[in-house]
């Protein structure tokens, strides 16, 4: 009797430790304001490692704001204010003291509209590497190829690395931006509606790529595209008016949502 109890206790502890190890980001009581506008309201959620977490919800519900608080891009907006914690290993990302430049190196971001630099494809990819002191051509070449392969773009551009990145199609530009983030070997990738400006074929390429990338990276993706969320994500979080309404396994959210608002949104019965 005594023995079994101990075993279950140990198991419980072990399971907790294991769960903690699986957490990439632990968001607690996150509140974000723009002036008087309370854009994210007391959100708590744990984001798992090597999973794709989708953030869905109607436009203006605070998805981008939430995402941009993780790599502190909201710092650029003077009116914004944040409280709560985002635990990443043993640091709180919202701590005023941390080095945001180093943080952004570990947590990469890809934006809604492809934003390659008006430089060559090669120089887009080496931009940040050079900043971190990588100068040798051989090393740079290696990282460029590796990143482009990971972003499924290598075959399309390997013969034109020195052409302007702006000569690429929209979908290629977006994959270049993903490759550019990958050159920094981040742990987490934040994607803010990365396919919303692209045609269906380019979109499905990006989706395949995301499924491939989750082996090596933790991915958080904002999307207003319900099908996309259900196709590529493991977990889904539904936001409404700045609140996190429901968060769970994607399958559960889409087949058996616990909240009525979630169900309404998913079934398209929403204003």
């Amino acid at each position: 009797m005594q023995l079994t109890l101990e075993r279950t206790e140990t198991e419980e502890v072990l399971q907790k430790v294991e769960e903690a190890n699986k957490i990439a980001l632990d968001v607690r009581n996150l509140n974000i304001y723009y002036g008087d506008n309370h854009a994210v309201k007391d959100v708590s959620m744990a984001i798992e490692k090597n999973k794709v977490t989708a953030l869905i919800g109607p436009s203006g519900c605070g998805k981008s704001t939430f995402l941009r608080s993780i790599n502190r891009m909201n710092d650029l907006i003077p009116s914004s204010r944040v409280d709560g914690t985002i635990q990443y290993d043993d640091v709180n990302l919202l701590d005023k003291q941390i080095d945001v430049v180093a943080l952004r190196k570990e947590i990469g971001m890809v934006f809604q509209k492809p934003n390659p630099f008006p430089k060559s494809i090669y120089n887009n990819l080496t931009y940040a590497l050079r900043y971190y002191g990588m100068k040798q051509k051989k090393v740079l070449d290696e990282v460029v190829e590796e990143s482009l392969r990971k972003a499924a773009l290598w075959d399309e551009v390997k013969d034109r690395l020195h052409e302007s990145a702006l000569s690429l199609s929209g979908g290629q530009q977006q994959r270049l931006c993903i490759a550019r983030s990958l050159t920094m070997k981040p742990n987490i990738l934040l994607l803010d509606e990365p396919a919303s400006a692209l045609d269906p074929i380019a979109t499905s390429k990006i989706e395949d790529l995301i499924l491939e990338l989750k082996k090596d990276y933790t991915i958080i993706i904002v999307t207003h595209h319900m099908k996309q969320a259900s196709r590529i994500s493991d977990k889904t979080a539904f936001f409404l008016n700045g609140e996190l309404i429901e968060y769970g396994k994607t399958k559960q959210i889409f087949t058996n949502p616990h909240e009525e608002q979630t169900e309404n949104y998913i079934s398209g019965r929403f204003g």
Partner: protein, 295 residues
């Protein structure tokens, strides 16, 4: 019905304004070129001016104009870029920034003759450099700097926000993003701005009358040692520029062919300024093409 008539009248008025401007410009250019072009030849462009006899040229004045312009731009561009970067990227909205902004605006609107007097006081007399290329170039810098700062600030602000975000999101510093992303993206605009400003500087006379002077020493164009007094490169020598020369010849020239010299010099001046404008446009277009084209 009523609004359609208003619309017609407005369109007509605007068209008339545009036509008037074009006509004035064409008339002016035509007049100057018509009178001046016949006088321009290689000899006129290269030989020194004469003080009493007819047949003098504008060689040293032409050189002086370009040389003062060069020195001015060497000082103005880095300062203007620095100021523009500060105003666009670092200045926080507040009292200090608005004081700076007002100062820039006031400085930009000062008449150039006033700047000339200031240059006379500070660069000519206070420093003891006398009438010199350096005094002239520094005065022109003051004349030019506010516009250059504004030009650079606007150019940097016009870089899309997503470029700035891309640089920062990659884990590079604000300064690195400015250096490697914002300034290169703004470069074509800054360059055309600088060339247009060059046109203004090139034609400026009032600011130079009392700073670079009305004379040019006898120059030895074989002597490129910048410290030698008869070297064209010496920045401590007085230097009459083309625009100043036109004024001087017209108002107090003793040469019998003053009219012809002034006409020829004016045509050269106008052609140069036009060239600055054309080059600025062509270069802007060329760089834009280079940045976006596939090869």
């Amino acid at each position: 019905m009523n609004s359609r008539i208003t619309n017609r009248i407005a369109t007509g008025v605007f068209f008339a304004c545009a036509a008037l401007i074009t006509l004035v410009l064409a008339g002016l250019l035509g007049y100057i070129l018509y009178h001046g072009i016949a006088i321009i030849n290689w000899d006129f462009l290269t030989s020194p001016s004469s003080s009493f006899r007819a047949g003098g040229g504008i060689g040293p004045q032409l050189f002086n104009s370009f040389y003062i312009l060069l020195i001015t731009m060497i000082i103005t561009v880095p300062l203007g870029l620095g100021g523009g970067i500060y105003m666009a990227e670092y200045a926080k909205p507040g009292k200090l920034t608005s004081i700076i902004r007002t100062s820039i605006e006031v400085l930009a609107s000062l008449p150039s003759i006033v700047l000339g007097m200031f240059g006379l006081l500070v660069f000519v007399n206070l420093t003891g450099w006398g009438y010199s290329i350096l005094s002239g170039a520094l005065t022109l810098t003051i004349f030019n700097l506010p516009i250059m700062v504004r030009e650079c600030e606007d150019a940097i602000r016009a870089v899309p926000r997503d470029q700035r975000e891309a640089g920062l999101a990659l884990g590079t510093t604000h300064w690195h993003t400015i250096k490697k992303v914002l300034v290169p993206s703004a470069f074509p605009t800054i360059l055309s701005g600088a060339i247009l400003a060059s046109g203004r500087v090139f034609g400026e006379a009032a600011a130079l009358l009392f700073t670079a002077g009305l004379t040019t020493p006898r120059l030895d164009f074989g002597n490129w040692n910048p410290f030698s007094p008869d070297s064209p490169l010496n920045i401590f020598r007085p230097a009459e520029t083309l625009a100043v020369h036109i004024w001087a010849v017209n108002s107090e020239g003793l040469i019998p062919d003053a009219r012809a010299v002034a006409d020829g010099a004016s045509a050269v001046l106008i052609i140069s300024v036009l060239l600055f404008n054309l080059i600025a446009r062509a270069l802007g277009r060329f760089i834009h093409k280079r940045l976006t084209a596939s090869k």
